[in-house]
C-alpha cells in the first residue's frame, strides 16, 4: 500500500505537503488527512454522531496500520465529543447521574477493551478482529437503520401515523432491582442495564476506535427509555470519558497513539462538524436515517470484501520487540 514510484516531478510536488507521521511511521499528505477529518466531521455533525466508525476505516484504507488508526482516532473522538458535550451542558441537556452510572460500566469496559486489544495484537490477530468487528457491527446496524429509514419513509408517503410503542409500557428491564431516580431525565430505572450498556460501549469503542454513539443512542432510547431531551448530551459524556481513558491506556500499553495524526484529524473534524450540523437541519429525519444507514452499510461491506478476496501478498512482517530502535 506504499505510494508508487512516481515521476520525479510528481514526487517533488508531493513532498511539499507530505508530513511524516511519527507513530504510524508513514508519510502522508496533510491535506488528504485534513480533508478526511473534515468530511467525517461534516457527516458526524449532520447526523449527530461521533464519526469514529467512519474515521478509523478511512485511515485503514489509506494505509495506516489498523492498530494505530484505532488508538489515534480515540483522541480525535474525545475532542469532538468534548465540544459537543460543552454545548449540551450549557443547554442543560445532560443528566449527570445517568452519565455517572454509565461511566461506571464504561470505564471498566474500556480497560477490558484495551487489554483485549493488547492480547490480540500479541497473537497477530488484531487486524483481523478489527475488520471482523467492523463487518458484523456495521452491516447489522447499517442494515437495521436503512430498513427503519425506508419503512419510515414509506409510512410517511402513505400518510399513516407513526406508531411508536407507548412510553408508559414496561419491559423486563423495569423489573430489575437497584432502581434509581434520574431527575433530569425523569426516569426511574435499575442501574444494572445502564452499567451493562456502558460496559459494552466502552469495550467495543476501545477495540474498534469508535465512540459508539450510533449504537449507544438507539440503546438508550429503545432499551433504557431515556427521553430525547437528554439522550445525546448524556451519551456524549460517556463517549468523551471512555475515549480519554482509551487514549491514555493505548498510549501507556501499546504506544500506538499518533498525536500528529490525531491533531490533524481533530482540526479537520471539529470544523467539518459545524457545517455538517447546518446541513443536517435541512434534511428530513427519515431521509437522514436512510442515508446514515447506507453509509454504515457501505463501510461494513467494504471491510467484508477486503476479508474475502485473496490478499495481494499472503505474507506480512511486523517488528516484535527485541532491540528497541
Amino acid at each position: 500500500m506504499r505510494p508508487c514510484a512516481c515521476a520525479a516531478a510528481n514526487r517533488e510536488e508531493a513532498t511539499r505537503v507530505q508530513l511524516y507521521l511519527p507513530i504510524a511511521d508513514i508519510p502522508v499528505n496533510v491535506f488528504l488527512i485534513l480533508a478526511m477529518g473534515a468530511a467525517v466531521g461534516f457527516v458526524s455533525g449532520m447526523f449527530g454522531i461521533g464519526g469514529g466508525f467512519l474515521m478509523t476505516p478511512l485511515l485503514i484504507f489509506v494505509g495506516i496500520a489498523p492498530a494505530v488508526a484505532v488508538a489515534s482516532v480515540a483522541s480525535h473522538i474525545a475532542a469532538s465529543s468534548f465540544s459537543g458535550a460543552i454545548s449540551y451542558w450549557r443547554r442543560r441537556a445532560i443528566d449527570p447521574l445517568l452519565a455517572a452510572v454509565l461511566l461506571v460500566g464504561g470505564t471498566a469496559g474500556t480497560a477490558l477493551g484495551v487489554w483485549t486489544f493488547t492480547y490480540l495484537r500479541s497473537l497477530g490477530q488484531l487486524d483481523l478482529m478489527i475488520a471482523l468487528s467492523y463487518v458484523i457491527l456495521l452491516t447489522t446496524v447499517g442494515g437495521l437503520m436503512f430498513w427503519e429509514g425506508l419503512r419510515a419513509m414509506l409510512r410517511a408517503r402513505r400518510g399513516g401515523a407513526v406508531t411508536l410503542r407507548k412510553p408508559g409500557s414496561h419491559g423486563w428491564i423495569h423489573g430489575l432491582p437497584l432502581k434509581l431516580r434520574f431527575k433530569r431525565s425523569k426516569i426511574y430505572l435499575s442501574v444494572i442495564p445502564i452499567v451493562v450498556v456502558g460496559l459494552v460501549i466502552g469495550f467495543i469503542g476501545a477495540i474498534m476506535g469508535i465512540g459508539g454513539g450510533f449504537i449507544l443512542v438507539p440503546l438508550m432510547i429503545y432499551l433504557l427509555r431515556v427521553p430525547t431531551s437528554t439522550v445525546i448530551g448524556t451519551s456524549m459524556v460517556l463517549t468523551l470519558v471512555t475515549m480519554v481513558i482509551a487514549t491514555m491506556l493505548h498510549a501507556m500499553t501499546n504506544h500506538l497513539v499518533d498525536a500528529v495524526l490525531a491533531l490533524i484529524l481533530m482540526v479537520g473534524g471539529v470544523t467539518g462538524a459545524q457545517f455538517g450540523a447546518r446541513a443536517g437541519q435541512k434534511i428530513r429525519g427519515e431521509h437522514l436515517r436512510l442515508l446514515l444507514g447506507l453509509l454504515v452499510l457501505a463501510v461494513g461491506i467494504r471491510f467484508a470484501v477486503e476479508l474475502v478476496i485473496r490478499p495481494q501478498d499472503l505474507y506480512s512482517i511486523r517488528e516484535s520487540g527485541g532491540v528497541p530502535p
Binding site: 498525536a259 490525531a262 512482517i317
Partner: protein, 260 residues
C-alpha cells in the same frame, strides 16, 4: 548530507593502520558521511563508500584481479513474518515465524556476480549474497537458519527488498583503477535509525585475502522523532498530553463556533 570526509579519512587511516595485521594487502576505506541526519521530509539518499587496496613488499607482483564484497547491515531487531490462509471463507493469519536479531537494513554489493568471485562453499562461509546471509529463525523451540528457498525466509527477504531495505547488487562496486574502488549505499526513506556496520571483504582467485570494517550512524532529527521517542519511553505523559490536546481542541471549537 554534509561531507565530512577529510576528518573521517584521517581517523580511519590511523585506525586501519594500527589494526592492520601482517597481510599482503591492506584495505583502506571510508564512507562519505559517518553521521547521516534524516529529517522528516527525507525521501531517500545515498552514501558513498570509497577505498583502495594497498599492496606492500610481500604482495606477489602479479596480483591484480581483485574482487570486493561490501556488506552493510543496519540495527538488528526481532521480526515476525506471518502468512495468511483461507479459513471459513476469509483470509486470516494462520502461520508465523520469528526472525531473531535480523538487520533492519541489509545490502550486499560486489564488483561481479558472487558465483564468479568464489565457490559455493566460500560464498556460504563468508555469507556472500542475500541467500547466504544468516537469518536466524525460531522454529518451535529450535533456533536455526533454514534453506534459502524456505517460504518464510524468501517472503521475508522479498518484502524487505520491496521496501528497499534489503538489497543485493553484483555490479555496484566499481574499480576506478585496479586498486581504487567505490560503491554507493542507497538509503531509502524508511531506513531504521541506529548504527550501520560496513564490512568490506577482498577476494582474489576465489579466496578471502583480507577484510576491514567501518560504520556509520543514521539519526533522525526533528519534531516527529521527538514525538516517536516520547511515545515509546514516556507513555503516560504522552497520553496525558494527547488527551489534554484533544480537550483543548474541543473546547476551542466550542468557543469559536458558539452560536448562542
Amino acid at each position: 548530507m554534509r561531507l565530512r570526509a577529510p576528518l573521517a579519512i584521517i581517523g580511519l587511516l590511523t585506525l586501519t593502520l594500527a589494526a592492520a595485521p601482517a597481510h599482503a594487502e591492506r584495505l583502506i576505506v571510508s564512507v562519505s558521511n559517518h553521521r547521516v541526519t534524516v529529517t522528516p521530509n527525507y525521501s531517500g539518499g545515498e552514501l558513498v563508500l570509497f577505498g583502495s587496496v594497498e599492496k606492500d613488499a610481500e604482495t606477489p607482483a602479479n596480483r591484480g584481479n581483485y574482487d570486493l564484497v561490501v556488506t552493510v547491515s543496519g540495527p538488528r531487531a526481532d521480526m515476525v513474518t506471518r502468512r495468511k490462509a483461507r479459513r471459513f471463507g476469509i483470509w486470516i493469519n494462520t502461520d508465523s515465524r520469528q526472525f531473531l536479531e535480523v538487520p533492519g537494513y541489509l545490502a550486499l554489493f560486489s564488483n561481479r556476480p558472487f558465483d564468479e568471485i568464489a565457490s559455493a562453499d566460500v560464498q556460504r562461509r563468508q555469507q556472500l549474497g542475500l541467500n547466504n546471509v544468516l537469518l536466524m529463525q525460531r522454529v518451535g523451540s529450535d533456533y536455526a537458519d533454514v534453506v534459502p528457498n524456505d517460504a518464510f525466509r524468501s517472503a521475508f527477504v522479498r518484502l524487505r527488498s520491496e521496501h528497499g531495505l534489503y538489497r543485493e547488487a553484483t555490479s555496484a562496486v566499481t574499480f576506478l583503477t585496479p586498486t581504487l574502488f567505490r560503491t554507493g549505499i542507497p538509503l531509502p526513506a524508511e531506513v531504521p535509525i541506529g548504527i550501520y556496520n560496513v564490512e568490506i571483504k577482498l577476494f582474489t582467485d576465489g579466496a578471502l585475502v583480507t577484510k576491514t570494517e567501518t560504520a556509520f550512524e543514521i539519526v533522525k532529527v526533528g519534531f516527529e522523532q521527538f514525538v516517536a521517542i516520547t511515545a515509546r519511553q514516556n507513555g503516560f505523559a504522552y497520553g496525558l498530553v494527547t488527551a489534554f490536546m484533544a480537550l483543548m481542541t474541543g473546547w476551542m471549537a466550542s468557543i469559536v463556533f458558539r452560536k448562542d
